[in-house]
C-alpha cells in the first residue's frame, strides 16, 4: 500500500524529448526550460492560482541553501521533480510537493576561482534523461536525471584566464547550448553547442574576431584580442527559422573605450545563429563602442504579431541601455526603438537603430553622471510576455551612475575594467514593473517600486504577474491592470526569476529570495 502511494505521488520519469521541449503548453504543470518556452515568454498557462484567490497564497515549503552567494536559479520541474542550482555550481533535485531532497550534485571549486560578480548559477537544462549544468570553473557537466551521477564533464574554457559559466544552458534538438562569462577579464567571447549525448563540441561561434576577419576592423589595433563580448544569459530559439537568438556582453575593457576605438563587433549585440551549424545569420548591435558596461545579455522575447499592418515574426528586447527594441527576427531588421526608462546618453536612435550619442557622456577620471546606471534599466533577469493580455512585462530600474575612466593594463586572469562607477549621491533611485504594448513600446500600466528591482517577472493565465523587490518581498499584480493583489516579506534581497508548476493537481509559484527557495500555494 505504502509502495503504491509513492508510485502515485512520483510518476515514473519519462524522457524529456525535444518534441516535449517544443510544446511546453501541452504540459503546463511542468517547467522544462529556463524561460518556460523557447520563445522566452516566462508565461505559465496555469490558472488555479488567479486574481480571485491569490490573496490567500502562502508558503507551502522552503528550501534553504547553505551558500551565502546570490541565489539566482530558475527551477525546472519535470513530472514531480524540481531541479535547482545553488552557488557555486551545485545541482539539487527536490520533490515538488514536500521540498525534500532526492539527490545532490556537489562540485569542489578551486580556492582562487576568478569571477567578476559572485559565484552564481541561474539553472539547469534537461534533455532525454540528462540534466546539464555549466560551472563556475567553466565546465559543462551532464548528470543522470534520476541520481545526479556524472555522465560526462567537458572543459568549456580555462577559469585561470577569467572564463566562468553562470548561465542556464539551453537544450535544443540534439544540442546543449552554453554561453560563457568573463567580460571583466578581457576574454575572447563565444557561444558553444555540444552534442547532448556525448558532450562533444558541435560548433563554437566566436563573438570577437581574430586577425583577418572583417569584424577585426571594428577594433583598433589588436584590441579585439581582449574584446570580451560574453554570452552569459540564456537566449531563445525559433524552430521555424531554426535560429538561436542570443545576447552578447560588453566589450573589454568596460569603461576605457580609448584602447579599442571602433564599433567593437560583436559586443552588445543580438546574434542569430543557425542551430545546426552555428553560422551567423544576422546580427544587430544595440550599443556600438559601449563605454558604460551595458551588456545586451537580456532574454530575447519572440512573438508573432501584426506590426504596422503586416503580420511579422518579431523579437522584443528591453535593453540594459534603457532603449526598447523591436526587430524582425527573420532578417534582423530594426523596426522600432525608444527609451523605456530615464536615459541621458543618446539623443535617440537613427533609422537603422544606431544610437545618436550625446557629447560629454563618456567616463572620465573625475567621473561622469549618466543614466541609466551600470546595472542598466534592465539586466539579466527575465521579462515576461502574456499571450492573454498581449503585454510585455519588464522589471525596470530608474537609476543613474557616475562613470569613471581608468587605466586598462591587460594581464590574463586579472580584471580588465578600465574604470569604475558609483551611485549618484542623493539620487532617489526607484523602479517599476511596467506593462508594455509590445509593438509600440507604449506603457499600458506601471507599478512603482521603492528601489530598483534586480529580479524578473512571471505572467500566468490566472491574470497575474509575479515579481519581487530588492527589499525582500515577492508580490502579485493583476496582469491586466497592475493592481497589487498579494505580497510576502521574506527578509532577504531577491535576485532571481519566478516560475510556476503543478504537482498532484495543485499549482505552485516558486522563486528564490535571500538564500532560500520559496514555494507558494493556496491551501
Amino acid at each position: 500500500m505504502r509502495l503504491l502511494l509513492i508510485f502515485a505521488a512520483v510518476p515514473l520519469l519519462a524522457q524529456v524529448t525535444h518534441q516535449r521541449l517544443l510544446s511546453p503548453e501541452k504540459e503546463p504543470g511542468n517547467w522544462l526550460t529556463y524561460s518556460g518556452n523557447f520563445a522566452g515568454h516566462r508565461f505559465s498557462p496555469l490558472k488555479q492560482i488567479n486574481d480571485q484567490n491569490v490573496a490567500k497564497l502562502t508558503p507551502a515549503w522552503v528550501y534553504q541553501s547553505n551558500s551565502l552567494q546570490k541565489f539566482e536559479t530558475t527551477p525546472l520541474v519535470v513530472d514531480g521533480v524540481m531541479y535547482i542550482t545553488e552557488a557555486p555550481s551545485h545541482v539539487t533535485a527536490l520533490d515538488t510537493r514536500t521540498g525534500r531532497t532526492l539527490w545532490r550534485y556537489r562540485r569542489t571549486m578551486p580556492d582562487d576561482v576568478r569571477v567578476c560578480c559572485g559565484q552564481v548559477n541561474r539553472g539547469v537544462a534537461i534533455l532525454g534523461d540528462l540534466v546539464y549544468v555549466g560551472t563556475i570553473d567553466a565546465h559543462l557537466v551532464a548528470l543522470d536525471a534520476k541520481t545526479g551521477a556524472v555522465r560526462w564533464d567537458v572543459t568549456v574554457a580555462d577559469n585561470k584566464t577569467g572564463h566562468s559559466i553562470t548561465v542556464a544552458p539551453l537544450a535544443v534538438k540534439d544540442k546543449i547550448i552554453i554561453g560563457i562569462a568573463g567580460g571583466e577579464y578581457g576574454i575572447r567571447g563565444f557561444l558553444d553547442a555540444y552534442d547532448a549525448k556525448t558532450g562533444k563540441l558541435a560548433w563554437r561561434f566566436w563573438t570577437v574576431p581574430e586577425a583577418g576577419d572583417p569584424e577585426a576592423k571594428t577594433w583598433a589595433g589588436d584590441s579585439y584580442k581582449r574584446g570580451s563580448a560574453a554570452t552569459w544569459v540564456t537566449g531563445a530559439y525559433d524552430p521555424e527559422t531554426n535560429l538561436l537568438y542570443w545576447g552578447t556582453g560588453n566589450p573589454g575593457p568596460d569603461w576605457n573605450g580609448d584602447v579599442r576605438a571602433g564599433d567593437n563587433l560583436y559586443s552588445d549585440c543580438l546574434i542569430a545563429l543557425d542551430l545546426d551549424t552555428g553560422k551567423l545569420k544576422w546580427h544587430f548591435q544595440f550599443t556600438p563602442h559601449d563605454v558604460h558596461d551595458w551588456d545586451a545579455t537580456e532574454v530575447p522575447v519572440l512573438i508573432n504579431a501584426e506590426f504596422r499592418g503586416q503580420p511579422r515574426k518579431l523579437l522584443l528586447f528591453p535593453n540594459r541601455n534603457a532603449f526598447y527594441y523591436v526587430l524582425d527576427r527573420t532578417t534582423g531588421q530594426f523596426l522600432l526603438g525608444k527609451p523605456y526608462a530615464k536615459q541621458t546618453w543618446a539623443k535617440g536612435l537613427d533609422d537603422s537603430g544606431r544610437p545618436i550619442r550625446l557629447p560629454g557622456t563618456s567616463p572620465t577620471v573625475e567621473g561622469t553622471p549618466v543614466w541609466p546606471s551600470v546595472a542598466g534599466a534592465n539586466n539579466w533577469y527575465s521579462p515576461s510576455y502574456s499571450p492573454d493580455t498581449k503585454f510585455l512585462y519588464v522589471a525596470t530600474r530608474e537609476s543613474g551612475a557616475i562613470y569613471y575612466f581608468g587605466q586598462a593594463d591587460f594581464k590574463p586572469g586579472e580584471q580588465f575594467n578600465g574604470g569604475g562607477f558609483r551611485s549618484i549621491p542623493g539620487e532617489e533611485e526607484w523602479g517599476a514593473i511596467r506593462a508594455f504594448h509590445p509593438t509600440s513600446g507604449d506603457v499600458a500600466w506601471e507599478y512603482k517600486l521603492f528601489t530598483p528591482p534586480y529580479s524578473g517577472v512571471l505572467s500566468t493565465a490566472g491574470n497575474l504577474v509575479f515579481g519581487a523587490t530588492s527589499e525582500g518581498q515577492i508580490f502579485a499584480l493583476n496582469a491586466a491592470t497592475g493592481k497589487p493583489l498579494w505580497r510576502f516579506q521574506g527578509g532577504g534581497t531577491v535576485r532571481s526569476n519566478p516560475m510556476s508548476y503543478m504537482s498532484d493537481g495543485k499549482q505552485y509559484i516558486a522563486m528564490t529570495l535571500g538564500n532560500s527557495l520559496y514555494v507558494f500555494h493556496v491551501q
Binding site: 577620471v365 567621473g367 569613471y404 587605466q407 593594463d409 580584471q415 551611485s423 549621491p425 521603492f450 508580490f475
Partner: protein, 252 residues
C-alpha cells in the same frame, strides 16, 4: 542608502597576496592618486579629506586602516553595512589612491581654539543637544549618538554641521510627515522604507511602522529637524562646543 548597490554586479574576490607596504608612492603616483580621489572619494570625504558624509581622513592614523594593506583593502572592498563602497580601480590605481589618502593626515588640521569645559556646559544647557542626541548613557533618541564623534569627524566638519545641519542629510535621517487614512498625523525621522511600508521614529523616540496602503498623505523633506546654530551661539560658544565634541573620543 543602498550601500550594496555596486555589488549588484561586481563582487570582488579577495586576492591572496596584498603587499604590506604601498609599492606606488612616488610624487607622480600621489598626483594621480589625488585625481582619482577627487573623482571618487571627495564627494563624501571632502576635498581635503576632513570628512563629511564620510569619515575624517585627515588624521595621523586612520582608525580602520593603520597599515597600508588595510587601507588598500578598505578602498578595494569597502566597509560592509556602511555607505563606504568598494572600487573597481586596478591595483596600481588603488595604491595611488591609498598613497594620496596617506598624505591627507600630514596636513596640519585647523587648530581647535575653544575651551572644552565651556563647550560641555553649552552642550548640556544652552545648546539643548541632549534633547535629541545621546552621549554615553544619557540623552535623547532623535538624532544620531555623539559618543566618540571626535574620533570619527573633524572639528571643521562638526562646526559646519552644527552651523547648517540640513546641508547633507543621510537618507535614514530624513524628516517625514504623514497622515493616515484614519486621520492620524505622524512626524518623525525615517529609519527605513520599502515599497509597501515605512518605519519612522517619532519625536518621543518611539518606532512606528505604517503600511503605505493606510497612508492618505506623506511628505518627505531632505532636511533634518536639527536647528541651525549659526545664529544661536556666539563665535566663542561655537568654538567651545566644537572643541568639546572634537575631544569626545568615546570609550577607549
Amino acid at each position: 542608502m543602498l550601500w550594496w548597490t555596486p555589488f549588484l554586479l561586481f563582487q570582488l574576490q579577495q586576492p591572496l597576496d596584498i603587499p604590506d607596504r604601498n609599492p606606488h608612492t612616488t610624487a607622480a603616483d600621489i598626483e594621480q592618486g589625488r585625481r582619482l580621489y577627487m573623482g571618487r572619494c571627495a564627494g563624501c570625504h571632502g576635498p581635503s579629506g576632513d570628512g563629511g558624509k564620510g569619515a575624517n581622513l585627515a588624521v595621523p592614523s586612520l582608525p580602520r586602516a593603520s597599515a597600508d594593506r588595510s587601507l588598500y583593502r578598505i578602498i578595494r572592498y569597502g566597509i560592509p553595512d556602511t555607505e563606504m563602497p568598494g572600487s573597481l580601480m586596478d591595483t596600481h590605481e588603488l595604491w595611488q589612491t591609498a598613497a594620496f589618502v596617506k598624505t591627507l593626515g600630514k596636513v596640519t588640521a585647523t587648530p581647535i581654539t575653544g575651551n572644552t569645559k565651556n563647550g560641555e556646559q553649552i552642550f548640556r544647557t544652552k545648546g539643548t543637544c541632549l534633547n535629541c542626541h545621546s552621549l554615553g548613557n544619557e540623552g535623547g533618541r532623535i538624532g544620531p549618538s555623539l559618543s566618540g564623534i571626535g574620533a570619527r569627524r573633524s572639528a571643521t566638519h562638526l562646526k559646519a554641521k552644527i552651523e547648517t545641519p540640513s546641508s547633507d542629510v543621510p537618507a535614514n535621517f530624513r524628516l517625514v510627515q504623514l497622515t493616515t487614512k484614519a486621520g492620524k498625523s505622524l512626524r518623525g525621522i525615517r529609519v527605513n522604507e520599502d515599497t509597501f511600508s515605512i518605519q519612522i521614529r517619532d519625536f518621543s523616540g518611539n518606532p512606528q511602522s505604517i503600511w503605505k496602503d493606510d497612508i492618505a498623505q506623506i511628505t518627505s523633506e531632505k532636511k533634518t529637524n536639527m536647528p541651525a546654530y549659526r545664529d544661536r551661539l556666539s563665535e566663542t560658544e561655537m568654538n567651545d562646543l566644537v572643541a568639546f565634541l572634537a575631544a569626545e573620543k568615546g570609550a577607549q
